[in-house]
């Protein structure tokens, strides 16, 4: 196996995207994604069983397309990488079972890796950063499945979770709010669009976990200094809508959308920047599907600039869940001489970020 610029195929199935990506070292060869998003529209959110069924049907066709697109054969691969968690249990199991079968059938080493850390892995691809991942790096991940701020000392060996949502993910809050406002699914783009016509200061919605008892101080941090909570916000939106309706007034949907969005991006960016400042993070990567949100990018850029933090947002296709990020992290681990995970490991729906690559199970280490 070449450790210089290994050819690695990455498989992603933790939510509703079936992704197969192929990289050669830090060069992206293909990022092939099949999404079941359309099948979730009528439910207003991702239905795990529907996503899992779609992964089974999409896997081999996505694999075939990725190989064709990259112009490589399975024989040429140096390694295979797969998302082992965190994510939806049944969805993860399809990708992991497929990856193991691929490893057995090709004889290639398999690396079971962390989905959240893989989101940071796209920073190594192409020209996201001119000279590879910079030092003093942090990552703010915002999507329908997660809301996290990470400190990345070394992407292959030292990642720390500084804060995360304690209930809904930000993207989930968008979806639920969009449903309250009758805007359809996915909620993020719909609310972002409508928010442009509204007044973000019309209604002051709550910023979750921002009270002093949760925040504490830099010296004596409270229990949720860098954590978020969005479930109260969704309730506040519902109550606001009800108040207008009860009073017989037309619901000012655009104002509510704008005010909701302002509350979300305000608390996300203020806590993320605070975490960066207090942990010496000077380079922040913004990832996840909600990274495409216009107002989030705008406010993150503004606040990072004011705090002397360089903000980097990868291409949208690399921000949403995909196999290329899995391949990129896999390649990094191969280049660093990391050990493969064997084929006996299990999936872990709540895999912590400190477990970047799973160690081989005992029966593999003979």
């Amino acid at each position: 196996m070449t450790r210089e610029e290994p050819l690695v195929l990455g498989i992603e199935s933790s939510c509703d995207e079936t992704g197969v990506g192929i990289v050669r070292g830090t060069q992206l060869l293909t990022n092939t994604v099949s999404s079941s998003m359309d099948e979730h529209v009528r439910f207003g959110g991702v239905i795990p069983e529907i996503a899992s069924r779609a992964h089974l049907e999409a896997f081999v066709p996505t694999l075939r397309t990725a190989l064709d697109d990259a112009g490589v054969t399975l024989d040429e691969l140096d390694a295979i990488a797969v998302t082992a968690g965190p994510g939806l249990s049944g969805a993860l199991m399809v990708g992991v079972s497929a990856a193991k079968a691929l490893a057995v059938a090709t004889g290639k080493p398999l690396y079971a890796i962390n989905h959240l850390v893989a989101h940071v892995g796209v920073g190594m691809l192409g020209d996201t950063f001119a000279d590879g991942l910079p030092p003093d790096l942090g990552a703010l991940l915002v999507s329908g499945g997660h809301t996290e701020i990470l400190r990345v000392g070394n992407i292959a060996s030292d990642v720390e979770l500084l804060g995360s949502t304690i209930d809904d993910a930000a993207g989930e809050a968008y979806d639920k709010t969009a449903r309250i406002l009758g805007l359809g699914y996915p909620g993020g783009p719909a609310i972002d669009r409508l928010a442009r016509e509204g007044d973000p200061k019309a209604i002051r919605f709550p910023r979750g976990l921002s009270q002093p008892k949760y925040m504490g101080t830099a010296e004596q941090p409270g229990p949720h200094r860098y954590d978020w909570s969005f479930s109260g916000l969704k309730t506040a939106v519902a109550r606001s809508v009800e108040q207008y309706e009860a009073a017989g007034i037309d619901v000012p949907v655009a104002d509510i959308a704008a005010s909701f969005q302002e509350a979300v991006v305000d608390i996300i960016t203020s806590k993320a920047v605070l975490a960066c400042r207090e942990h010496g993070i000077t380079n922040l990567l913004l990832g996840g599907g909600v990274a495409a949100n216009r107002r989030l990018r705008e406010l993150a850029a503004e606040r990072c600039a004011a705090a002397g933090i360089t903000l980097t947002v990868p291409a949208p296709s690399l921000c949403t869940d995909n196999g290329a990020m899995v391949a990129a992290l896999g390649a990094r681990i191969v280049m660093d001489g990391g050990s493969p995970s064997g084929t006996a490991f299990g999936t872990d729906p709540s895999l912590p970020v400190t477990r970047i690559v799973l160690a081989a199970a005992r029966e593999d280490r003979t």
Partner: protein, 226 residues
């Protein structure tokens, strides 16, 4: 004829058969670890037999019905192996494996009708009705099914092969030798082989879930009115 068979409709089972001879076999009673155990089992069985994947004449996949997550682990494994090795995929109804066992073990009389039932969880069984061959053939004939339903709703007066019999003894008349049996990759492979030899068509590997996902379309939000 060299066939690799996988059935994950209940337990995770893998078998390698050369013609009618079982060359290797794996079975795990744990119904929740299919994604862990399946690939290592395939690897070990082929290595022990000195068989390379592309040498296979077919990969036989039990297509259910069965609990969703385990079933998918088997099907995505079979499809991926088939793709990489360029080996044909042969789908077989998992209940056919139990029906084959019932006939092979002479648990049912020639020409007689019988049922096959497995655990569908949630108080229900996956089932189908078969007739044992009367002409010396080895393959039972599928008469009705597969279905999913409560044990009490199955046709009366026919013996049943499969674990459903021991789960619902008050409702079902179990064949004693097969009352705790699950579909297995060995008889699954034999069903596929008999069909191939007889020139009969096999199924594709579309999973038989028999149940919709539990997802509900959310109702309209209740409006507050003045």
């Amino acid at each position: 004829m060299l066939l690799l068979a996988l059935d994950t409709s209940a337990a995770a089972t893998v078998a390698l058969l050369r013609d009618d001879v079982v060359v290797g076999r794996f079975g795990s009673a744990d119904t929740r670890s299919h994604a862990e155990v399946l690939a290592p089992a395939v690897q070990r069985i082929l290595a022990d037999a000195g068989v390379a994947g592309p040498d296979l004449d077919g990969i036989v996949a039990g297509v259910g019905p069965g609990p969703f997550t385990g079933l998918r682990a088997g099907l995505v494994t079979a499809r991926t192996l088939g793709f990489v090795w360029d080996v044909p995929l042969l789908g077989v109804l998992s209940l056919d494996a139990l029906a084959f066992d019932a006939v092979a073990g002479r648990a049912v009389p020639a020409g007689g009708g019988f049922l096959v039932g497995t655990d569908a969880r949630r108080g229900e069984v996956y089932w189908a009705a078969y007739r044992a061959p009367a002409d010396g053939s080895r393959l039972p004939e599928l008469l009705d099914g597969p279905h999913v339903g409560a044990a009490a709703t199955l046709p009366q007066g026919m013996p049943l092969a499969g674990r459903a019999a021991s789960l619902y003894p008050d409702d079902l008349d179990g064949l004693p030798a097969l009352a705790t049996s699950d579909p297995d990759a060995v008889p699954l492979a034999r069903v596929a082989r008999c069909r191939l030899l007889a020139g009969e068509p096999l199924r594709d590997t579309a999973p038989l879930y028999l149940r919709e996902s539990d997802a509900r379309v959310p109702g309209p939000r209740k409006r507050a009115t003045a």
